[in-house]
């Protein structure tokens, strides 16, 4: 008898499509995310489609579950992490994904996001960050840059933006990554890594909104500029970038500086070596905040991965321990507890 006799049907991207017409605007970065998710999930080992659930909030990104051939829950604005948390705690056997946007997750849903990270609920959260409110037709979002002119900020926004990756790191998310809608291979790798991670996995996807915020990430995506503006983080590898990998990032104290590797005074050995398992959060924050400086490249990749028990696991373990100690609950015992008396 060999295992090959068991007829395991290999799932394909099509199995992960609900088959209904996708209704995002033409050219929207969301298409790319949907395609990568549908392509990546079938490759996950032992995946059972019926055990995958996509939960979302409100916004363009949150239509995502309708297009997936899995179970799905289109929630209310900002609450996707909380709905997903309850589902995962109730049903630890499920794989729960959250599709959300910058307004949904970081504005109205900010509280749920940081607490889901803090508690290490085993959720996979994909943030579709287009730095604008799209579904309400173009107001600035909590990730829009200061000074942005939108319908609600005709003279320029006076808000300071959130750095989503930094917020996730600060909330102690156990897996934090960033990618770009126009880098499908990289995105697929991040999705794959997140899926394999046990614990809260957060992926920030820089995503273009062709209608209300077109080109906001173009420096990171256009052929002639992207190599100078994006640094790809790879565990154990020095941080180098540029068309010919001629630039590196070095730390001087806590200050990141760019070094010219063409200059013989500098060596690749001086460059910061990426360590996603770093105990300290400090380097992670420095990397997340490279985007604060216009001269620095934007890092993409896995910023941090920590392995620690998840909330849902810990809860099941506690229930098992108490049940072992006390024995399985009996209603008789529960109701007829001490201090009873009989009336005859």
């Amino acid at each position: 008898m060999s295992n090959t006799e068991i007829n395991v049907e290999k799932l394909t991207a099509k199995d992960f499509s609900s088959g209904i017409d996708v209704r995002w605007c033409p050219g929207c970065g969301d298409y790319s995310i949907l395609a990568q998710v549908q392509r990546t999930l079938p490759n996950i080992e032992n995946i059972e489609k019926e055990k995958v659930v996509w939960v979302s909030g409100i916004g363009c990104s949150s239509r995502f579950p309708y297009y997936m051939g899995t179970y799905g829950f289109h929630g209310i604005h900002g609450r996707a992490p909380a709905i997903a948390t309850g589902l995962k705690i109730a049903r630890p056997d499920l794989t729960v994904w959250v599709a959300t946007g910058d307004g949904d997750l970081l504005s109205i849903g900010g509280n749920h996001f940081i607490h889901a990270c803090r508690k290490n609920i085993d959720l996979k959260i994909i943030l579709f960050n287009n730095q604008i409110y799209g579904l309400t037709k173009g107001q600035y979002s909590p990730t829009s840059e200061k000074g942005k002119v939108t319908k609600t900020s005709p003279y320029g926004s006076v808000d300071y933006p959130f750095n989503a990756t930094s917020l996730a790191l600060g909330s102690n998310a156990s897996f934090v990554a960033r990618t770009i809608d126009r880098e499908p291979k990289h995105m697929a790798e991040m999705i794959d890594r997140a899926a394999a991670h046990k614990g809260l996995a957060f992926i920030e996807v820089y995503q273009n909104c062709p209608i209300f915020n077109d080109g906001t990430f173009s420096e990171l995506t256009e052929k002639d500029t992207k190599e100078d503006n994006v640094v790809i983080l790879e565990h154990g590898k020095p941080m180098v970038f540029g068309k010919n990998k001629e630039k590196g990032i070095k730390l001087e104290g806590f200050h990141p500086v760019i070094v010219d590797l063409n200059d013989p005074k500098n060596s690749i050995d001086d460059c910061l070596v990426h360590n996603e398992k770093d105990d300290s959060l400090i380097r992670g924050f420095i990397l997340a905040h490279l985007t604060d400086s216009p001269d620095m490249p934007t890092p993409i990749g896995v910023f941090r991965q920590r392995i620690k028990p998840t909330y849902d696991e810990a809860m099941v373990e506690q229930i098992d321990q108490v049940t072992k100690k006390k024995g399985k609950g009996s209603l008789e015992k529960l109701l007829f507890t001490q201090n009873t008396w009989e009336v005859k």
């Binding site: 209310i76 609450r79 589902l87 809860m315 609950g329 209603l331």
Partner: protein, 616 residues
């Protein structure tokens, strides 16, 4: 030497005692211990804890006074009593705050040690009431409780401060002597509570016994009282508060439905106890999620309901307001969910520790769109158990959110509970949908419930959410006719519940001239008022609503039978508004909103008033 003292043993039917002191004096504990012991000796009882929202307000001040009222009797009683017969006041502020409510010529036991210059000033007394004759109408026992407690604990190694903390046990011991109660239940409790602190077991027991012996051997008390056990229905009883009964009800409901119980909740007074109780029942597989906020409390419960758990969320008024939008999501997704609202004084933060019934309209109508939910309400502390099960049954049977209304009085008040046999509680049949053929997420059974197909079921992958659904298929639909149909269907489903809820029961005179109706925690006060007025010769009947949305089938028929319908409510007339608009029946209202339960006497007077005044 030992001269036998003459103590008069007096049998009485009932008494109302109020313990009052600083919020740090342990009055809630003293009252609870006295109640539990009183329950064990077989009296009927009803309690009213009344404490400030401040945890430890400055000692000695009027706003720091915490009280616990207890009515116990050798017969059936229904309220914590209108006016105390006995006041135990641990300091001047406690005396001042409670004196006006004490019965004329009632007994006052005070800790005279606390009546010093500083405490008198804090209580805003210009002269010492123990000396200035202002208490001449009462029977005053001024006892140096602090001094006597110190003396009893002389040979212990506790600090003065720790010794002082034992004085509530001295007072409790004295009251046990006065009302002929055994000390054993409290001694057992002390031994369990301070298992790891033997010095406190010793000290508290000594203080308790010293109080008891003080009554026994000094000559201050000439009379000792006995209250015979009440002739309650045969059965096994325990004393239970509304919040504990609610928690137990859900554990039982989940077991009876064969489901796991999930509670998503955020701590809020006076509902937190339910979360606390349920956090203990891990051996039943109960999962309690203390969420980051009220919204996450309900949102997580909705997620758990989608996953196939019996999902509940617990809160009080301000929290219900925060859960509004998510409640609508549960309506739209037609998932079973129970929302418990332990009502407190509002609006806004209002009176966190006081009771009120002013969230009925919020529960009925407080959502966007036509968003019907079922509403049920518990009538007494122990009835919270039944109504938690009923709420769960309706939610699971009809795939609908259900709001269970209790209130601060029911939640913290307690009464003897005739514990039902586990087998006598019916099962709640629940079946997850598994058939792939012809599955539609919004198809409906004869009860109009949609199928519950949970993630993990192969072939039934589907998507639900807050957007309007096409009837049957469950696809997103913006079709005008479909929307109208769904709006009607959602309400119709709630009305269908009428088929499975009991008729409105009428107690009292068959030929009554007046029907007194009510809902929720006012049951006991109304019942007692009806009994009293009937004794006076008035023809009175009572009907109490436990099911408010939908109303029981016979509601209109019952309401039309009587010349007068009177509805006392601790709000400005919320149920009256709903009943009037639904049945176009004139209703006399009686509304008192003081953060306290109704006084029986007030309802009595209103009944007589409606009937045209005294018949004597």
């Amino acid at each position: 030497m030992s001269e036998v003292r003459e103590i008069q043993e007096k049998h009485i039917d009932e008494v109302t005692v109020r313990f009052a002191g600083d919020s740090g004096d342990g009055m809630q504990l003293t009252g609870t211990q006295f109640s539990d012991t009183t329950a064990v000796v077989g009296n009927d009882l009803s309690t009213l804890p009344d404490y400030p929202a401040e945890i430890r307000a400055p000692a000695g001040t009027l706003y720091g006074v915490s009280g616990f009222q207890l009515h116990f009797s050798s017969s059936d009683i229904h309220t914590p009593g209108d006016v105390p017969d006995v006041l135990v006041a641990m300091n001047p502020a406690a005396l001042k705050k409670n004196l006006s409510e004490l019965k004329r010529s009632g007994l006052i036991i005070v800790n005279s040690d606390s009546f010093d210059k500083k405490n008198l000033k804090l209580a805003e007394y210009e002269s010492n009431p123990l000396e200035d004759g202002s208490l001449s109408g009462f029977d005053v026992m001024d006892i140096p409780i602090t001094t006597l407690t110190y003396a009893a604990l002389e040979d212990t190694e506790l600090s003065q401060k720790e010794k002082s903390r034992c004085k509530n046990f001295f007072a409790l011991g004295l009251m046990y002597w006065l009302y002929n109660r055994p000390m054993e239940p409290t001694i057992d409790w002390i031994e369990k509570k301070f298992k790891n602190k033997p010095q406190f077991i010793d000290a508290n027991e000594k203080a308790l016994k010293a109080g008891y012996n003080f009554g026994d051997i000094t000559e201050r008390f000439a009379t000792r009282y006995t209250i015979e056990p009440a002739k309650l229905k045969p059965g096994i009883y325990r004393n239970i508060s509304g919040n504990e009964a609610t928690a137990l009800g859900f554990v039982v409901a989940a077991e009876k439905a064969g489901l796991n119980l999930f509670l998503g909740s955020y701590p809020i007074t006076p509902a937190s106890d339910i979360l606390q109780y349920l956090s203990n029942y891990k051996e039943f597989g109960v999962k309690t999620f203390q969420a980051e906020d009220e919204i996450a409390g309900i949102a997580s419960a909705i997620g758990a309901a989608f996953g196939g758990n019996l999902a509940i969320t617990t809160t009080s008024g301000p929290g219900l307001a925060l859960k509004t939008e998510a409640t609508g999501l549960a309506v739209m997704t037609e998932l079973p969910l129970v929302i418990v609202n332990v009502q407190r004084g509002g609006p806004s933060t209002g009176l966190p520790t006081k009771t009120e019934q002013a969230d009925l309209l919020q529960s009925m109508y407080g959502r966007n769109g036509e968003s019907p939910v079922a509403i049920v309400a518990a009538a007494t502390p122990s009835d919270c158990f039944n109504m938690a099960i009923e709420a769960s049954r309706l939610a699971l049977t009809y795939m609908s959110p259900v709001i269970l209304l209790t209130d601060g009085y029911l939640a913290n008040g307690s009464e003897p509970w005739n514990i039902p046999a586990v087998d006598s509680i019916p099962e709640i049949p629940v079946k997850f949908h598994t058939e792939v053929e012809n599955y539609h997420s919004y198809s409906r059974d004869e009860k109009l419930a949609r199928p519950w197909a949970i993630p993990g079921t192969k072939g039934l992958e589907h998507r639900i959410g807050g957007l309007e659904k096409a009837n049957i298929t469950g696809d997103v639909s913006y079709d005008p006719d479909n929307h109208f149909e769904m709006v009607k269907l959602r309400e119709e489903k709630i009305q269908k519940m009428k088929d499975s809820i009991p008729d409105l029961e009428v107690e009292g005179d068959k030929d009554a001239e007046i029907l007194v109706i009510g809902w929720g925690g006012t049951y006991g006060a109304i019942k007692e008022a009806v009994i009293h007025t009937r004794k006076k010769g008035y023809k009175v009947a009572q009907a109490h609503f436990k099911f408010i949305h939908p109303f029981p089938k016979n509601t209109e028929e019952v309401l039309r039978k009587y010349k007068h319908v009177l509805l006392p409510e601790i709000n400005l007339g919320q149920l009256a508004k709903v009943l009037k608009s639904e049945f176009l029946i004139p209703i006399e209202q009686f509304n008192v909103v003081r953060g306290l339960p109704f006084r029986v006497g007030d309802i009595e007077n209103k009944i007589i008033d409606v009937l045209g005044g005294s018949n004597e």
